[in-house]
Amino acid sequence: MTGPASDAIVVDHLSKQYKKLRAVDDLSFSVRSGRVTGFLGPNGAGKTTTLRMLLGLVTPTSGNATIGGERYTELHEPIKHVGAVLEASSAHRGRTGRNHLRMICRAAGLPDSRADETLELVGLTPAGKRKFKGYSLGMKQRLGIAAAMLGNPRVLILDEPANGLDPEGIRWMRDLLKALAAEGRTVLVSSHLLGEMQVLADDVVIVAAGKLVRQGPVDEVLGSMGTSQVRVRTPQPAELTTALTSLGASATPQADGSLLVSGAEAAAIGHAAFTASVELHELVAERGDLEQVFLQLTAGMAGIR
């Protein structure tokens, strides 16, 4: 399901130079509508700076970032096109959550009723009249999402929205974002929580040290790394290892008594075991997980710059 092309996000040779630090370095990627795109990178990789440039809050040193072909600052009534959640703690401590939303409604010329509707959407109605300083981190994240949804935007940009959410909150967020993408909206979510992204995202954009490392559908990125291995359990490990070696595969004994085989598909291993009359108790293809891929891709680029 693909939405109109006009909702796509395009980052084009974007760079940001702070005094000594090149926070974002010639970064280009694009984000399609109708899908959830995970924007991944270690802490300090330039994710937040990139999103802030995309939203016109930080001026790029060079390059361009557009949403639906236009810069954010040139959009007419931007929050009706783009909703953004940038930092969970961005509301006045002494103001109620409902008033925080109403304040945005007034500035944007939206009716106050939108504040109540989005509070309902994020399940925050009971806390709407409480002051922001009494909110838990999870409630702050929900308020941020409510603010982003005020203008019913076609494009959503979220910076680390899962931070501080409990497992139930994470699940709620995942379902919401997936549903919004399924409606054809563009959803760009930054995170360093890889496990969560593996479940949530359709596409990933991986950055490290301000540079693009890899971009594509999650499955492709995982597959391309060739980390696929097959876990085999057998009462005759020696015989199987011999059979596999003749196939050109290698088997590594694991602490739990199983063998981890690389260099052969599960079907080939099963066939080799069958012809060598080796009994198998388990034969599982282990998909590479995003975390491994991520660590391999960003090796040596992560850390404090």
Partner: protein, 272 residues
């Protein structure tokens, strides 16, 4: 208009407006009483220096007493307007709401203009409040001083009008300075201290310069914003002081410079 509405909404949905109100009321009452006491007890014949005696005599003319009393509370009212206007800007950074604000309105000059508008409205409201109370409490004080209420004098109404101009100009100044001193704590402390202590300190420096360096330094004293706004609302031209319009020009100058520079800076700044 939406944006000014939003700015006023921001102000009245937090505790700051009534905190400032609670601070202002006793200070205002104190300044009315102080003015009253001063006029009730001063006698020009007790002043030895003939120049000063001349000034005191002029200040004690009924019309000048009236303009001072009917604009009572200017000193502290303006201070509160200055601080509130600065906080209208600094609280966005202090409470990290600048992100939300500039996401709704990426054209930052519009946001700053709305803040100028909201601050001016706050200034007008405070002027209205102090002026209304003055119009109620000053006539009895005037009769206590054995003076008529002077409300028929155009000079009184001109002073009240110029007092409004002072409130408005200080509001603009506050927003501009709030942009320049982004840190809320620093802004309130610096503006508060400079306003209260700085005026006397700079006044002392000017006094010393005038006494020991050159007489013409005295004429530059009007460059101090507080002196400028006091000069602006004085009833008649007091001897030894520059004309009133100079005070207005100085204040407008500061407000315009702070306003333009603040807007320019906000447009350039990265919000993070």
């Amino acid at each position: 208009m939406n944006l000014i509405n939003a700015e006023l909404f921001k102000l009245r949905t937090t505790a700051i407006w009534w905190i400032m109100g609670i601070v202002l009321l006793p200070l205002y009452a104190a300044s009315v009483l102080a003015n009253w006491a001063q006029f009730a007890s001063t006698n020009p014949d007790q002043v030895s220096d003939p120049d000063q005696a001349e000034q005191v005599r002029a200040a004690l003319e009924p019309i000048n007493v009236a303009t001072t009393l009917y604009t009572s509370g200017q000193y502290f009212g303006v201070l509160i307007v200055l601080l509130l206007s600065a906080i209208i800007v600094t609280s966005e950074f202090f409470h990290l709401t600048a992100t939300a604000t500039f996401l709704v309105t990426p054209k930052r000059e519009s946001v700053i203009l709305a803040k100028f508008g909201a601050a001016v409205i706050v200034g007008v409201l405070l002027w209205l409040l102090t002026t209304l109370i003055n119009l109620i409490v000053v006539p009895p004080i005037m009769s206590n001083l054995d003076l008529s209420n002077q409300l028929g004098e155009p000079a009184v109404w001109r002073a009240i009008g110029l007092n409004l101009l002072a409130f408005v100009l200080w509001a603009v100044l506050g927003v501009g300075l709030g942009v320049l001193i982004k840190n809320q704590l620093a802004a309130t402390l610096i503006l508060g201290i400079v306003y209260v202590v700085g005026t006397s300190a700079i006044g002392l420096i000017f006094f010393l310069l005038t006494e020991y360096v050159a007489q013409w330094f005295e004429n530059l004293q009007v460059l101090i914003p507080t002196s400028a706004s006091q000069l602006m609302i004085s009833g008649t031209d007091l001897p030894g002081n520059p004309p009133r319009w100079v005070g207005a020009v100085v204040l407008i100058g500061y407000a315009v410079v702070a306003g333009f520079f603040g807007t320019w800076l906000t447009k350039r700044r990265d919000i993070s």
